[in-house]
Symmetry: C2
């Protein structure tokens, strides 16, 4: 009896181990987000039709490949029934296309970029694309890494608001025949499709608006940046100043300041320059820093100081007084970007495609912060 029992125990525990081992294997296999999904070969087996034919039908090549309509409908109905969806990763591997586009912006936090991103996302989705977003923080190194990363992920194309110094990487992308659309900023040495706004005119008009409303001593608060869009805004301001025959006053802040640092610098600037009666801010967050500074100095807007911001934001409407802003045509811009990208994606050879530069006009949203008070006077110099 005893050896007998021993054998049974052995057999038992062996069975146990086998089951245990198999279940481990099973779990490992299942440890992704898919239940065992049907493949095109499963369909082939069920329908007794080759995977090739099914693939043709799925890719709309039924007529081109002269698949009979009976077979076609049979396939389509079955697919409908079982809810088959092709494995995108396998598709990607085979075709080299990922149906993913990468979008690099300065910061996805920023309302301007967030709005653009949203429009692009929904449009791209309708066209069968997903969009990967990432923030460069305007740092060259980070942008390089991101381009590298997305390339490894086999994205089909790029939408980039380029930080400075990224020319080489973008040229490399174009040479590898990878579509790139630049927007918001211009890189003079790169020839690819560009979607821009007329920054010069935006700043020029805004400055003139201040003159027309009786303000005389207009400062410009901007970033210490050589980027084209910042340069153009500065040029627009200076053109207007020159035309009015008055004198410019410019504060350049370095790039990566925190909100509190920005407002601190602007506060100092305003205290040192009490002759000013208006300020044009080169970006929305500089304007927000300015508002903070103005509040701290207990200045009245626009009686003591008028302000205009570049890039509109919901907050400008809510502040009291509300803030006049140079609005970028977000919707139009987004549509243009995606349109251009799709055009590039459809084309075999990027170098053969002709590159466009699209320049859109800004719109001045007039609010109280820069409005015409008949009795404009600068109470600060008086005080």
């Amino acid at each position: 009896m005893i050896p007998h029992a021993g054998i049974i125990v052995l057999a038992d525990s062996l069975l146990f181990y086998i089951i245990y081992f198999l279940s481990i294997l099973f779990l490992i296999k299942k440890n992704n987000c898919l239940k065992k999904k049907i493949s095109i070969h499963d369909l082939a087996r069920e329908l007794k039709i080759s995977a090739t034919t099914i693939s043709f039908v799925l890719n709309g090549k039924a007529t081109e490949k002269r698949i009979s309509s009976e077979v076609e409908t049979k396939i389509l109905e079955y697919i409908q029934k079982v809810g088959y969806k092709p494995n995108l990763v396998a598709q990607s591997l085979r075709t080299g296309k990922s149906k993913i586009i990468a979008m690099l912006v300065e910061s996805i936090d920023d309302s301007f970029f967030a709005s653009i991103a949203k429009v692009i996302e929904v449009t791209a989705y309708k066209l069968g694309y997903k969009v990967f977003f990432a923030s460069t923080e305007n740092e060259t190194e980070k942008a390089k890494q991101l381009i590298r990363l997305f390339r490894d992920r086999q994205v089909d194309g790029f939408i980039i608001a380029p930080p400075p110094g990224i020319e080489k990487e973008i040229t490399a992308l174009l040479e590898d025949n990878c579509p790139v659309i630049l927007f918001d900023r211009h890189l003079p040495t790169i020839t690819t499709t560009n979607v821009l706004i007329d920054n010069f005119d935006g700043a020029f008009s805004a400055t003139n608006h201040l003159f027309e409303n009786g303000f005389k001593k207009i400062a410009f608060v901007t970033l210490d940046s050589t980027q084209s869009q910042m340069q153009a805004r500065l040029d627009g301001y200076q053109k207007a100043i020159k035309q009015a025959g008055t004198v410019s006053k410019i504060l350049k802040l370095s790039y990566n300041l925190l909100h509190t640092e920005i407002s601190e610098k602007i506060k100092e600037f305003l205290q040192k320059n009490k002759q000013l009666d208006a300020v044009l801010f080169a970006t929305n967050y500089l304007a927000l820093g300015g508002v903070d500074a103005i509040n701290q100095l207990n200045l009245k807007v626009p009686e003591n100081l008028a302000i205009i911001a570049f890039d509109d934001d919901l907050i400008f409407q809510l502040l009291s007084p509300s803030v006049t802003a140079v609005a970028q045509p977000v919707q139009e811009m987004s549509e243009e970007v995606i349109k251009q990208l799709m055009k590039s994606l459809a084309v075999e050879d990027q170098s053969a495609q002709q590159k466009e530069t699209i320049i859109l006009k800004t719109k001045l949203i007039v609010r109280k912060s820069a409005i015409n008070f008949s009795s404009v006077k600068n109470l600060r110099t008086a005080g």
Copy 2:
């Protein structure tokens, strides 16, 4: 001479066509974002070492698989030299893992979600993951579609701020052994890891803060929503009201209103209820609508009406007067979410892993909009 020339011409044009055809083929092959990258087999050929061995070394299994250290260093050096990077798509196909995690939030525009997203993105990146973001707009149908979409993309896990009615899809994910971390909201019927804040306590404390500052008639403006976090905020408010022995006044707004519609409704509400001397807003954008309404009614904050917002935002600091807000611990929350997700990803069997519910405390950021003025009086009832 003439037939001779003809043959030459024929040969010429034939060659031309062959070259043309080949170049077309070449371009089609190149029409993704990769120049012809080296594969593991290319390495194998160059090094005269099998792809298997190289793969082992690459995946850190050198010792486990007892690869000799000479071979290992030889491989590593060569890889370094030529800058080889494995094809992630192929890896994904073979392993079923994508190193992508999906994050579904209400709206990526919203500053609360945007901040969380940012922290999660950088943390995930350090851990070798990319994050796909998408906005549900709190619509069940859209969320379902997105889950479906991401599943097709073989994401490894989900981070979701769940809209109502999404229980079934989430259960399905969990059953398929796909890690899901819920945050911001709670779904009572789902047992998975949850990262939440103490909404009840946040609203309770905020309301009490108003009482302590001498305000007596406190209203609550919220969404007409059954979602747990909204319910908890309401409960917190009512508990405080009850405890103070006063009476509650609640405005419930429907979900998808525009900013202007929100402020319009609040304006009506305030006009109908002139006895109120304070309002607690259940979300940041409701508070912004409220600020707009208050501006339009020319009310003084906090003299006529004190306000507190749920969810802090830079704008609350900039508005004048600045707005007191219940701040969510964004950093802490994000870290907890990603920590929990990584824990889940590391585990074979999701159903075996024990699920935690983490509840974090809010912090009341006291600003001017709800501050204690000794001479508090409600000028509106007087007027």
